[in-house]
Subunit: 407 residues, 2 copies
């Protein structure tokens, strides 16, 4: 009797995470090894609560639409699995459900914290001698997972950020007066998304003129000097800042005090607004700040085809690797060439990926710490290429029914 | 000897204002009446400073690209023409330049304040017996010009807002906890853009669940009651608010004190942030605010084809009306049918349009003042339909060279 599978999504949404889900569904439907595929609603909590959708009869059309839809079809959770030593019962509940449902493999699509779940479930499975295979599939707009060249969701967010930055630059240039535009971009500890704003540049628009990432210390006085030096030359100075920029002592540059989320990560807001006030006070020039906010992770209408294709393949290949008997892994992308862009998909032990974070290398940031280098642009360029054909209804992009998530 | 023309753009940018410019250029190039077409850089100030681009040799390809580009190709100004009685010299300078350049017609693309310029120039031309014809072409994302059914730029902004609202709703639904999302949308005195967020609704997502426009008084206590009533039912309550909402005494609901711009309009910011803090304090629920900011007026990548086509025609027809000898007018759209959508383009005396503002009719807002009616949706729907084919380069939309605006 063939075994069944469970797939779930976790962490923050991206434009590509449903493409990975679509890849897993497609992989299982076309599998000789597995029978049913169930989606756990709200991540691992769906397993704990016996809340599943049967995805086994998904049509090709649904799988395609799902690939191009924002956020997370199965819903998410921010639930951190307790340490086994502290709470064995949770693990017993999960694996009891796995057994009752005749589960052969569990696929978890997510970022750092989700890979922690994959790692913990893998270890428990080994400890109890379970033959259930546990696979991780990467996603995070932050692009901060180690081992893989980049993560699904990043390319689409990068494309949206670069597009919006270019459009806001056009918007800024129209007045014949000096002005400063500060654009705050997501990225608590890693500056990849903020760096991607550099893709907005053209031969006649160098915006963003300044880029500040959390990988270097941010000095307010130097920041004001940087703008002061550019204003007479550029007239309109456009700045990209990561929400997570901080001073040499590690204090976040933020108007509001940082509070920690359940995983102990600081929750930031107001970096752009704080710098807007600073520029206004110090330079008395016209200044505006824009926080791109959740649009950068949910704007499916500006998805990168490369990103969605890769996300799909990373999901589909996870099924193949599991069919081959692998477990305790995350699927990864290895870049084999920048130009023409090519990559290979393989798998890597999740134990070396969970709870790690990949920062922007210092050598991809310029000496002054206010721009990125050509190497960064070479890295970024292929990830945003290609457009998708959205399904529109009455002029607005139409996405799959998520009535199981709404009330 | 054929006369020449000048065209200029003024006020805040929209996604459609370059389409109107393209229409004027196309109209003049194909005209039997006029010879050269010059673009004044930075609105009427370009005329005062003798800063012109010769647009007469624009290729079809450039005109097409121009139609699909964000912001304002010719740049803008926020320059209010002085009253003739106070400063005759400015008018003399403008008409001296017109004479030197053998100008037969002046086209000004803009909103309320720009139509004030059209009106003043028209009156001066009449006073001095000049035969230079003065034409206005409407644009404003705010949709608050009177006489015309709607204004170019509004449909594209509405499409972007509805799309983003739908995508942010998907983003919000993923967690299985109560939450509130407050989306702040532009619109100082008119709620058209905020109303357009209702186009995000589908059969399985009713977001935004609450909509507050500046046309009704905003009551903070009732707002909290509205959310409190919905939270147990909807779990995730998504709210659209106009930046210009105000209490019964006319005080803006804004975290920062309002300051006036040159035209005496209040400049607002922080309405969403203020309400976020209010909800957090009063209800203790997870809450986030998003200010869509300049993206709603510059996101050319989400332009409405209907909007751009109409903007082009309004520009092109202005040339025709001038060829027919008309002056002192603004081109207008008159809707002849909602379904199938159809309209006619004509012209109307600018004197009755300048310095007026069109609010959302009270009967298109529900009794409780927290939603819009079906009539509003019927009005909005046709304006966001149709998609454009953007030109992409390296994965990012590519727009015309604006090196004359950048430093």
């Amino acid at each position: 009797m063939k075994k069944n599978c469970i797939v779930a999504q976790s962490g923050g949404p991206t434009v590509a995470i449903n493409a990975s889900l679509a890849g897993v569904i497609d992989g299982v439907i076309n599998s000789q090894t597995f029978d049913k595929i169930y989606g756990a609603v709200h991540g691992i909590q769906g397993v704990l609560r016996n809340n599943f959708l049967d995805l086994s009869d998904s049509s090709d059309e649904f799988i395609k639409k799902l690939s191009y839809s924002p956020a997370m079809y199965l819903g998410s959770c921010r639930f951190k699995l307790p340490d086994l030593s502290a709470d064995k019962a949770t693990y017993e509940t999960i694996f009891k459900t796995f057994e009752e449902m005749n589960i052969g493999a569990f696929f978890y699509i997510g970022g750092n914290d989700s890979m922690d779940t994959v790692d913990k479930l893998s270890k428990y499975a080994k400890e109890i001698g379970s033959d259930i295979l546990i696979a991780g599939i990467p996603k995070t707009i932050d692009n901060d997972l180690v081992v893989t060249d980049h993560t699904p969701g990043f390319g689409s967010a990068a494309k949206y950020i670069a597009t919006s930055m270019r459009e806001m630059a056009y918007d800024t240039y129209i007045y014949d007066i000096q002005s400063v535009l500060i654009v705050e971009i997501m990225g608590r500890d890693a500056g990849w998304l903020t760096a991607a704003s550099a893709l907005a540049r053209t031969e006649f628009s160098q915006a963003p003129h300044l880029i500040y990432l959390p990988e270097t210390s941010f000095d307010e006085e130097q920041f004001i000097e940087d703008i002061k030096a550019l204003l007479p030359v550029k007239k309109n100075v456009i700045v990209a800042v990561s929400e997570g920029i901080h001073d040499a002592e590690g204090n976040y540059v933020s108007a509001t005090s940082a509070v920690a989320d359940k995983f102990g990560h600081a929750q930031l807001s107001g970096t752009g607004k704080y710098l807007e006030n600073l520029v206004s006070t110090k330079l008395g020039v016209k200044v505006r700040s824009v926080e791109i906010n959740v649009l950068q992770r949910s704007a499916a209408h500006m998805a990168s085809k490369t990103d969605l294709d890769e996300a799909f393949q990373l999901g589909k290949m996870a099924v193949k690797f599991v069919e081959d008997g692998h477990s305790e892994f995350m699927t990864i992308l290895t870049r084999t060439s920048d130009k023409p862009y090519s990559y290979q998909i393989s798998h890597s032990p999740v134990i070396h990926i969970a709870n790690q974070a990949k920062s922007v290398p210092r050598e991809w940031i310029n000496q002054a710490g206010n721009d990125v280098t050509v190497d960064m642009l070479t890295y970024l360029k292929p990830l945003v290429t290609g457009e998708i054909e959205l399904c529109y209804e009455d002029g607005i992009p139409f996405y799959p029914n998520i009535k199981h998530l709404t009330s």
